[in-house]
C-alpha cells in the first residue's frame, strides 16, 4: 500500500498543500525578521500591540540612566537617541524566532522529497551466502526480482552467540567485499553495525543452517578393543578397520525425537542386509561387534544479509536537523521589541512605551508591568 502510486500521489499532494499554505505567510515573516526600520518613530506609540503611557517624578537624565539596565534585563541592550529634547530607546531580541516556521515547513518538504527519491531510485533486498561462498546478486523485497550489485560479497564466517538464558546475544558475519575477484575490504557485521560500501548499506538480517559436514565418529571393535576415529560427510562410504564392512552416514536430523541431533549410520556388510542405527551425540550404540559414538560435527551456516541503497537519505537527515532547529527557534526565542520615548514635563517626565511580542504576551506584559513600577518608584 505504501509503495502504491496513489500513496505517492497523496504525499505529493501534501507537499503541494504545504507549499501553498506556507508561501503566503513567508513574505510577512521575512519582513518582520528584517531589521526594524522605525526604531525611533513617534507613530509607533499608541499603534503597537502593547501601548502604555506613564508619568513619573524623575528627571530625564536620571531616567535615561535607570532605563538602560532595566531594558537590558527585560529585552537586550537598547539603542538610544535624542531628538527634539526627547529621548528614544529601542530594544529587540529573538528576531529569528519566526524563521522557525519556515524551517519546520521546509524540512517536511525535504523529508518527503528525500523519501520520494529513495522510493524511486533506491532499492533493498536480501542475499543468503553460505560460509566460504561468494554472492553478487540480491533478491529484491516484494518479489521484484533479482539485482546484480556490481561487486561480490564473500562470507568468511558466520557465528551466533547466546546468553546463558538462551536468548541470542550476537549474530556476526565476517564479510569480504571483492571487485572482479580481488578482495577490497573486510568487515565483521553485526546487528546495529552495518557495512557501508559504495553507497550500499549491508546489514545483518537473518541466518540459517546450510548443512552439516565432518561428522566425527569413533568406532570401537569390542573384540579387539581397538578404537578408530572417523571423519565423514553425508553419503560418504568408508571401510572399517579390521573388517570387511563399510560404514556411511545416510541422514542428519537436527533434533531427532526431541533427543537432540542425530545421524543415521548405515553398516554395510557384503552379502547381508544393511544395518541401520541412529547415533545420538555422545551415546554409545552397538551393532554386531562394533560400537559407535557420534562425537561431533560441523554446522555450516548461511548468513542472510540485507543490502540496501537509499539515495535520498542525506536529504531526509538534513530535513530532520532542520525541523529540530526550527522547533528550537520557535520554542526558545520570542521576537520582542520595545520602543520608549521620554519627554520632560513640568514635574518630571512622561514615558511612552510601545512593545510587541510574537508569543507569550501575558508573561511579557507581567514583566513590563514590573519595569513600569520600578520606573515610577521614587
Amino acid at each position: 500500500m505504501y509503495h502504491s502510486w496513489w500513496f505517492t500521489l497523496l504525499l505529493i499532494l501534501l507537499s503541494v498543500n504545504i507549499i501553498a499554505c506556507t508561501a503566503k505567510r513567508i513574505p510577512r515573516i521575512i519582513k518582520l525578521t528584517l531589521p526594524e526600520k522605525n526604531k525611533f518613530d513617534d507613530r509607533i506609540f499608541g499603534s503597537s500591540q502593547i501601548n502604555k503611557t506613564i508619568q513619573c517624578h524623575k528627571s530625564l537624565p536620571d531616567l535615561e540612566q535607570e532605563i538602560t539596565p532595566l531594558l537590558k534585563t527585560l529585552v537586550s541592550l537598547p539603542i538610544q537617541v535624542r531628538k527634539d529634547d526627547k529621548s528614544y530607546f529601542f530594544s529587540e531580541k529573538g528576531r529569528y524566532s519566526r524563521m522557525g516556521f519556515i524551517f519546520i515547513h521546509f524540512s517536511i518538504l525535504l523529508i518527503l522529497g528525500g523519501g520520494l527519491i529513495g522510493a524511486i531510485r533506491g532499492f533493498d533486498g536480501q542475499m543468503n551466502i553460505v560460509e566460504g561462498k561468494i554472492a553478487d546478486t540480491i533478491f529484491l523485497y516484494g518479489g521484484k526480482g533479482a539485482k546484480k550489485l556490481g561487486f561480490q560479497v564473500r562470507c568468511d564466517d558466520f557465528s551466533i552467540d547466546f546468553y546463558k538464558t538462551g536468548q541470542p546475544k550476537e549474530y556476526r558475519s565476517d564479510l569480504t567485499i571483492l571487485e572482479n575477484g580481488k578482495p577490497i575490504t573486510s568487515k565483521a557485521i553485526r546487528v546495529n553495525h552495518p557495512l557501508l560500501y559504495k553507497g550500499f548499506k549491508i546489514c545483518q538480517a537473518t541466518y540459517g543452517i546450510a548443512g552439516t559436514a565432518n561428522f566425527q565418529i569413533v568406532v570401537k571393535n569390542e573384540k579387539t578393543g581397538k578404537e578408530t576415529a572417523l571423519t565423514l560427510n553425508l553419503m560418504e562410504k568408508t571401510s572399517l578397520p579390521d573388517s570387511k564392512s563399510l560404514f556411511a552416514i545416510g541422514r542428519f536430523i537436527p533434533d531427532h525425537q526431541n533427543r537432540g541431533p542425530a545421524v543415521l549410520g548405515v553398516l554395510i556388510e557384503p552379502g547381508k542386509a544393511h544395518d541401520m542405527l541412529w547415533l545420538f551425540k555422545d551415546h554409545n550404540q552397538q551393532k554386531r561387534d562394533l560400537s559407535f559414538i557420534l562425537k561431533g560435527f560441523d554446522t555450516r551456516y548461511y548468513t542472510g544479509i540485507q543490502v540496501s541503497r537509499s539515495p535520498g537519505v542525506h536529504i531526509v537527515w538534513a530535513g530532520c536537523i532542520l525541523i529540530m532547529a526550527g522547533f528550537m527557534l520557535s520554542l526558545f526565542f520570542i521576537h520582542t521589541k520595545v520602543w520608549l520615548q521620554i519627554s520632560e514635563r513640568k514635574d518630571g517626565c512622561e514615558i511612552k512605551i510601545a512593545a510587541s511580542v510574537n508569543r507569550n504576551r501575558k508573561d511579557f506584559e507581567e514583566k513590563l508591568e514590573k519595569l513600569v513600577i520600578r520606573l515610577q518608584a521614587e
Binding site: V191, N192, K201, C203, S308, V316, C320, L331
Partner: protein, 275 residues
C-alpha cells in the same frame, strides 16, 4: 535493597503525594502543598536511585545495559517521566491539581507494573537489535513526549468535565481558560519531543535494519500520533480553535499514544514487539 522493592515503595509515595496535592487544592492550603511537593521530590529521587541500582545490577549480572529495554522498564520510566515533566514544567502553572494529576498517573503506571501478572520485572539481556547507543536517546525522548501528552490528556478531561457539569465538586476546578492553556503548552513541548523520538528512531532503524522508515506498525502509529498533534497545533495556531474541540483532539491524541505504546504490541505484531 532491590530496585523493584524501592519501586513498590515509590508507588505508594506517589499515591500519597497525589492525595495530599488534592487536599491542598480543595482547601487551598499552602503548607499542605509544600508537603505534597516534598513527597513528589522524595518519590522521584528514590525512583532515580532504583534506576541506577538496576543499571548497576545488570552489570553485576554480566548483561549490563541501561534499564530502558523491556516493558517493565519502559512503564517504570514512563511514570518517572511524568513526574519529571511535572517538576520541570507543570509546576510553573502553580496549580496543585496538576500535581495531583501527575502523581496519580505515575501511581497508576507503577501499580500496573508491579501488580499485573504478565509483566516480567526481571533484568533481561539485550537482544542484538537493542544493542545500540540510539536506545537511550530514542526511549528518553519518546517517553518524555508521552509524559507531556499524559498531562495534557488529564487537563483536557478536566476541561470537558468543567464544561459539561455544574455544581459543587466541579465548581472548584480551575478556570477552563487555564486548563486549555496548560493542554496547549504541554502538547507544544510533547510534539517537539515526539518529533525527536521519531527522528532518533529513524536513525536507529537505518542503522539496525538498513532503512529509516519501513511502515512497521509502531512506526506507522507513531506517525498517526504525530499527525493528530500536528493537527491540534495547526487548529490552534492557524484557526485559533480553543476549548472543547481542542480538548477532544488532545484526548484523541492520547488514545493514539496509548495505542502506539501498548496496542501495537498486543494487537499488531512487528519489529517493536519487544517494546
Amino acid at each position: 535493597m532491590s530496585d523493584t522493592f524501592i519501586i513498590s515503595i515509590v508507588t505508594f509515595v506517589y499515591f500519597a503525594a497525589a492525595f495530599i496535592y488534592l487536599i491542598s487544592f480543595v482547601f487551598s492550603k499552602k503548607p499542605v502543598a509544600v508537603m505534597a511537593l516534598a513527597l513528589t521530590v522524595f518519590g522521584i529521587t528514590a525512583q532515580t536511585a532504583a534506576f541506577i541500582i538496576r543499571w548497576i545490577h545488570s552489570y553485576q549480572l554480566g548483561i549490563g545495559h541501561i534499564p530502558l529495554a523491556n516493558f517493565y522498564e519502559s512503564i517504570v520510566f514512563f511514570s518517572w517521566s511524568i513526574i519529571f515533566i511535572y517538576l520541570v514544567m507543570g509546576r510553573r502553572y502553580k496549580n496543585n491539581l496538576i500535581g495531583a494529576l501527575a502523581n496519580l498517573f505515575a501511581f497508576i503506571m507503577l501499580a500496573y507494573a508491579s501488580l499485573s501478572g504478565d509483566i516480567n520485572s526481571q533484568i533481561q539481556p539485550l537482544i542484538p537489535a537493542l544493542q545500540s547507543n540510539w536506545l537511550t536517546s530514542h526511549v528518553i525522548s519518546c517517553f518524555l513526549a508521552y509524559a507531556c501528552f499524559a498531562i495534557s490528556f488529564g487537563t483536557s478531561v478536566l476541561y470537558l468535565t468543567k464544561q459539561r457539569f455544574k455544581g459543587n465538586p466541579v465548581d472548584i476546578l480551575p478556570e477552563p481558560k487555564f486548563l486549555d492553556e496548560v493542554t496547549y503548552k504541554m502538547i507544544s513541548i510533547g510534539f517537539v519531543l515526539l518529533t525527536l523520538g521519531i527522528i532518533t528512531g529513524a536513525a536507529w532503524a537505518d542503522h539496525a535494519w538498513g532503512r529509516y522508515w519501513g511502515w512497521d506498525p509502531k512506526e506507522t502509529w507513531s506517525l498517526i500520533t504525530w499527525l493528530i498533534y500536528a493537527a491540534f497545533l495547526h487548529a490552534r495556531l492557524v484557526r485559533g480553535w480553543k476549548g472543547t474541540k481542542m480538548s477532544l483532539i488532545s484526548i484523541f491524541g492520547f488514545v493514539a499514544v496509548i495505542f502506539t505504546y501498548l496496542g501495537v504490541n498486543y494487537v499488531l505484531s512487528g519489529l517493536h514487539s519487544y517494546l
